[in-house]
């Protein structure tokens, strides 16, 4: 992530929706975006893990990002997508309600996360806010989210 911070050009983000809110992640960590394939539920796994799916022979876990961020789990629709992310050492799918766009955002338009205001369970993982014409995109740091999961798993 340090390379990204040191560069000065616009950031490329993948925007997506979770409920009413719009989020984004850095495009560098997204390997591909797939439609919902068959996800096999894994018993005894954490509740936010929807299951595992077959990505061309590789078995990868799928995390329901809504649930992970403390929202109600949503029913999969035709617009539901899975962001397949590459966050070494993990390859992981994140289920989102829909993918909106891939955009370039100049760095001046990205603010650090707001200090005040409870934003729910997403807050610790918001690394910045991208201000677009009429909307705000919360940029999530997925690596941080995974680290938190691991710490929790170790503590359990």
């Amino acid at each position: 992530m340090s390379q990204r911070d040191s560069s000065t050009g616009p950031r490329q983000l993948v925007g997506f929706r979770l409920g009413q809110e719009e989020y984004a992640v850095d495009i560098l960590c997204v390997k591909e975006i797939i439609r919902v394939a068959h996800v096999t539920p894994v018993p005894n796994a954490p509740p936010h893990v929807r299951g595992v799916l077959n990505l061309r022979g590789q078995v990868i876990p799928v995390v329901c990002l809504r649930q992970r961020l403390g929202m109600e789990p949503g029913e999969p629709t035709s617009r539901t997508r899975i962001l397949v992310t590459d966050l070494p050492p993990h390859t992981l799918g994140f289920a989102v309600d829909s993918v909106t766009e891939v955009i370039r955002v100049p760095r001046e338009q990205i603010d650090p996360p707001p200090e005040a205001g409870p934003r729910g369970r997403a807050e610790p993982y918001v690394e910045g806010v991208a201000k677009l014409d009429s909307r705000l995109l919360l940029i999530l740091d997925l690596a941080r989210l995974l680290t938190a999961d691991e710490t929790q798993a170790l503590a359990a």
């Binding site: 068959h38 018993p43 796994a45 595992v52 077959n54």
Partner: protein, 581 residues
């Protein structure tokens, strides 16, 4: 000196792998030389091996290794020149060199391991050349690997006066043969790779044919006998992928000889140390098995061989008194049985006194005295696998600490293996290890639980029986199944996998699985079929999911989960044990 030793990782891995092999060859040849001291051919081989070791170390500028191999090479050169002959101090010295080279490698691999001091050993070697008077006992400074804490007391002893090659004392006795720790690499016969290349070539042809059909269809051209063409194509792909799978498995296979060859040295050292005479016989060394499995059995085998020498085979006098030849026989036999490899360790020693095992178990509170009355000999022998049990009256450095067979069994469990022990008092003991040939591809039984399919490795399935309620009971609050005069813990996979949403269908099946020598019954909704599956991990993110060993991709592209039999058996046994206590 060695701090500056940082070659590129690839070169280093090659160096480590080759050095390990050379050290092994060296040990083997030295042991042969001991039996046949006059062999010029063996001497030449030892010389060459040392020379190559020196050259490789020199190439990487690793001075201590260069110096050590050089001085050993010098000694062998003296013998070759006829200035001295092959003596026990020399072979002992060369074996110590091999040990020291291993320690040096350990240091290279992990710089936190102190770099051993080669100076004393070099001096000792040099003294060898001065004739018998200069022969020193192996130095006390030979580092003992931390894995053998019991041996350290002995090697810390003051130096034995020079000139006395104290038999059976120092040379790091009982040190376990080591696995090639860098299991991330495999050496493969080029022919096998060529074979795979050919198959991939064929696969490409079939893909091209498929693309051709598709483009013809896209262009609106009628493809002649389309269905037939596709079926043919699919058929060929099926057979090529089958061959490819088999060929790739072969790449992972190594002869069990690789493991067996580590034992002559161990037996030699133990023999001397224990004052026993033992002949080691190995058979079936060319039996092939998966590299992972091969590495997995090294430690258990070492345990068993040590046990056999320490507890099994009697001292020569005792053997004579019993009318047996003074020299005991220890045999390692490998063979294939279906998809399994069997490795049998047998000795013609004293055998196991099952009554004593049982008494010991009562003393330790492992079984009740009442239970003992009704115990068969087999059941009593089974107690040997109980944690903490040892039949040895005194704890020796080699064994008798009660960390033997239960460790062996749990190791095997992890690899879906089984262990069986038979023993006849006065005649000897036989331990058989049974392991799947490979861990990568597993013939599995697909079962339905709720709406999900699960794969159960067939290797652990003993029998499938219809759900019969008259065989099911509740024993101390836990469901159990009566099966062939035995009472097994019964688990419902619906409960374990939380799939109780829909009511259980009628006509469910009970799958009896066995792991090592423990059996457990599982209830499933239905049997679906049998298929070979490739085990895939669920990834680090999920880590260890209770009851799930991994996933596999099915024909329709969906993922089916693989049931973790060892975990479930443990769970069932744990509960059963807790209930019985």
């Amino acid at each position: 000196m060695s701090d500056s030793f940082r070659p590129n990782p690839e070169l280093f891995a090659d160096f480590v792998a080759e050095t390990e092999e050379l050290i092994e060859t060296l040990v083997e040849d030295v042991l042969l030389l001991e039996v046949d001291p006059g062999s010029a051919d063996l001497l030449k081989r030892v010389f060459r091996t040392l020379h190559t070791l020196k050259g490789n170390a020199g190439f990487l500028n690793f001075t201590p290794m260069v110096d050590l191999s050089h001085s050993a090479e010098d000694q062998v050169a003296q013998v070759r020149a006829g200035r001295c002959s092959v003596t026990t101090p020399l072979t002992d010295g060369l074996l110590l060199v091999a040990d020291m080279l291993r320690n040096l490698l350990d240091h290279l691999r992990d710089p936190s391991v102190a770099c051993p001091d080669v100076g004393r050993l070099i001096q000792q070697l040099a003294r060898l050349a001065e004739g018998p008077a200069g022969v020193a006992a192996p130095p006390a400074a030979v580092p003992v690997p931390p894995a053998a804490p019991g041996a350290s007391a002995d090697t810390g002893a003051p130096e034995v006066p020079a000139g006395e090659p104290a038999p059976g004392a120092e040379p790091a006795p009982g040190e376990p043969p080591r696995a090639e720790r860098d299991s991330a690499t495999v050496r493969v016969d080029v022919q096998r790779i060529d074979q795979i290349m050919n198959q991939v070539g064929e696969l490409v042809l079939e893909r091209n044919r498929l693309q051709q059909i598709i483009s013809e269809l896209r262009a609106g051209k009628p493809v002649e006998r389309l269905e037939e063409a596709l079926a043919e194509n699919a058929g060929r792909i099926h057979s090529i992928t089958g061959e490819l799978q088999a060929a790739l498995l072969k790449v992972r296979m190594v002869p069990v000889e690789r493991i067996f060859r580590k034992f002559p040295r161990l037996v030699r050292d133990l023999e001397a140390r224990l004052g026993k005479q033992v002949r080691l016989v190995t058979t079936g060394g060319d039996t092939e098995l998966d590299k992972t499995v091969a590495e997995a059995i090294l430690d258990p085998l070492t345990h068993l061989v040590r046990n056999a020498l320490d507890h099994g085979i009697e001292p020569p006098a005792a053997r004579r008194a019993r009318g047996k030849p003074e020299e005991g026989t220890l045999s390692l036999v490998a063979s294939h049985e279906g998809n399994h490899i069997l490795v049998r360790v047998s000795d013609d020693g004293a055998g196991v006194d099952s009554a004593r095992v049982a008494r010991k178990a009562v003393q330790m509170g492992l079984v009740s005295p009442e239970r003992l009355e009704t115990m068969s000999r087999t059941e009593a022998l089974d107690l040997l696998f109980a944690p903490g049990l040892t039949t040895s009256e005194s704890v020796s450095e080699l064994s008798g600490r009660g960390v033997g067979l239960d460790v062996v069994r749990s190791r095997l469990k992890a690899y879906h293996g089984m262990i069986e022990l038979t023993s006849e008092p006065g005649r000897g003991t036989q331990v058989t290890l049974k392991l799947p040939l490979t861990l990568a591809i597993v013939p599995s039984l697909f079962v339905l639980v709720g709406s999900q399919l699960y794969a159960v490795p067939l290797a652990s399935v003993i029998e499938v029986v219809a759900e019969e309620s008259r065989q099911r009971f509740v024993f101390q609050g836990r469901p159990v199944l009566r099966w062939r005069e035995r009472v097994l813990p019964l688990l419902d996979l619906r409960d374990l996998f939380h799939s109780a949403s829909a009511p259980a269908p009628p006509g469910r099946k009970t799958v009896i699985v066995g792991l090592a020598d423990r059996q457990v019954a599982f209830l499933v909704d239905a049997l679906v079929g049998q298929e070979e599956v490739v085990i895939k991990t669920l990834g680090d993110y999920l880590g260890r999911v209770p009851g799930i060993a991994g996933g596999t991709v099915m024909g329709d592209g969906r993922v089916a989960l693989i049931v973790d039999i060892p975990a479930l058996v443990g769970l069932a046994r744990g509960e059963a044990l807790a209930a019985a206590a």
